[in-house]
Amino acid sequence: MDDIAGWFRWLHGASGIKLTIFYDSYDRARFLQGFLTTLRLSAFCLILSVVLGALAAWLQGSRIAGVRRSVTGFVALFRNTPPLVQLYFFYFALGPLLPKVGGMPLLGSFGWAVVSLTLLETAFAAEIFRAGIEAVPKAMVEAASSLGFSRWQIYRQVVLPLAVRVSMPAMTNNLVNLVKTTTLAYAIAVPELVYMSAQIWSEQVNVPEMMVVLLLSYVGIVGVINHAMQWLEARLAVPGFGQ
């Protein structure tokens, strides 16, 4: 550890490349905190949006026209308006309306970022799941129905497991997009990776170095996600379904 810090300190002296996050413990802690916040934000939004997306996709197959329409409207709305404006709408317009608990706002910037990004990703996930559900053959549903499965059971035990598998490649893209979209939280001062890096580069005046670190961090996160999803896809593969 000390060797690495020493090397980067030497690098700064020798070439002027200033990577303080490797030898300055304060900067390192800030950077790691930003990294963790990005991961936490992504994880929260991912889990919530997958659950809500599956629910929305199920509601889109509802027998009540009003339910179907409102889900479609929700999806169209969130997909055709800028995510940044959505975030501002939630944080600046809806935020002040929320009651305060003990002098503190009920939802901070992190909370609003989770809400806003979750709704955005839910709209995308719903669309992906819907396509996945449509790809499940009708005969399967009819077969399950003839075996006495209820509507919910069919969805839970037959349609959803297959739809999830069909949706995997599209979900991977969506997940990558989610991680990239968390950078927007910078705009409402959530201490995530970009925000922390911006603080570091404005104090240390090492913009180019931090930019490269930042880009590599995101490319790294995205790479890990791609590999993990490929592994999961292979793991969940059902013989006779897909290639």
Partner: protein
């Protein structure tokens, strides 16, 4: 009973259909069903309701929210047009560069292919905001060519920054479209003594235009929505102006109406594009 068991019993599991097997070009594909035009109405309803509510709540001495919105509409419109200008320029730049990058990915020389692959992957996987910061901070604010100093304003830098991810994604669209043309056509062209360039320009690309159009339009809509990012790096587009207006008025009851107003504008611009994209996709898929 598990899926596996049902699958084994029924043996009716076909391969998933094309909907999802599409390449990544469709990342943020177009909006919900065609009949969701009602959504616009819903958004409009939220907007109108918030205006009316704020209007009613406003003290009689102060100007109503509706009046304020009317008052600021020309300025907002100016900002919005600026967004559209940035999106058009970035799209033009991104498409030109992307076409080059996409052709490089089809090159017969492995080094060119490899380098263009790397560039494409990098710019597709890096967050837009980070790319924007990259361009904003690392490009000079003016150039000196000989004795002439050419200023290089923020908004042009932002346009360049937004063009980068578009470039990579257009490259991917071009590559995908060219590869979707059956190899037999290349062979047929070759047997008719077409050179590689002639084959590409006269036979392959004309067929690709049709396949490239829907994803390309889709990216245009995404880009238009992404132009709001320019406000974070200090370009005076619609979001910056909205922020300034709310600061100048200092009225909390204006917040919901004005933000839904801006949302509505973007929706009215982007939703028709996404509907049109869907229609084109459906029409081309039939053939």
């Amino acid at each position: 009973m598990s899926v596996r068991a049902i699958a084994a019993k029924l043996d009716v599991l076909p391969r998933p259909r094309g909907v999802l097997a599409r390449p990544r070009a469709g990342d943020r594909s177009s909006g919900g069903g065609l009949f969701a035009a009602r959504t616009g109405a819903a958004l409009l309803a939220v907007f109108v309701a918030s205006v009316v509510l704020a209007q009613v709540q406003a003290a009689p001495a102060k100007a109503g929210v509706a009046e304020l919105l009317v008052k600021w509409t020309p300025l907002l419109a100016q900002g919005f047009l600026f967004n559209l200008l940035i999106s058009a320029l970035a799209m033009a730049l991104g498409t030109a560069a992307g076409a080059l990058l996409g052709s490089a990915r089809l090159s017969l020389h492995p080094p060119i292919r490899g380098a263009s692959w790397l560039l494409t992957q990098f710019f597709r996987n890096a967050p837009w905001l980070v790319l924007l910061f990259f361009v904003m901070f690392l490009l000079p604010f003016e150039f000196t060519v000989g004795r002439v100093t050419v200023p290089f304003p923020d908004w042009i830098k932002a346009t360049l920054g937004l063009a980068l991810p578009i470039m990579a994604n257009v490259a991917e669209i071009v590559r995908g479209a060219v590869q979707s043309i059956p190899t037999a056509q290349w062979e047929a062209a070759r047997s008719l003594a077409f050179s590689r360039r002639q084959t590409l320009w006269q036979i392959i690309l004309p067929q690709c235009i049709k396949r490239m159009l829907p994803p390309w339009m889709n990216w245009y809509a995404i880009l238009t929505m992404a132009t709001t990012l320019a406000s974070i790096v200090g370009v005076s587009e619609v979001m910056t102006i909205t922020g300034r207006i709310t600061n100048a008025e200092g009225r909390t009851d204006l917040l919901i109406p004005i933000y839904s107003y801006v949302l509505l504008w973007f929706f009215l611009y982007c939703y028709p594009i996404s509907v049109w994209t869907r229609r084109l996709e459906a029409r081309y898929a039939e053939r």
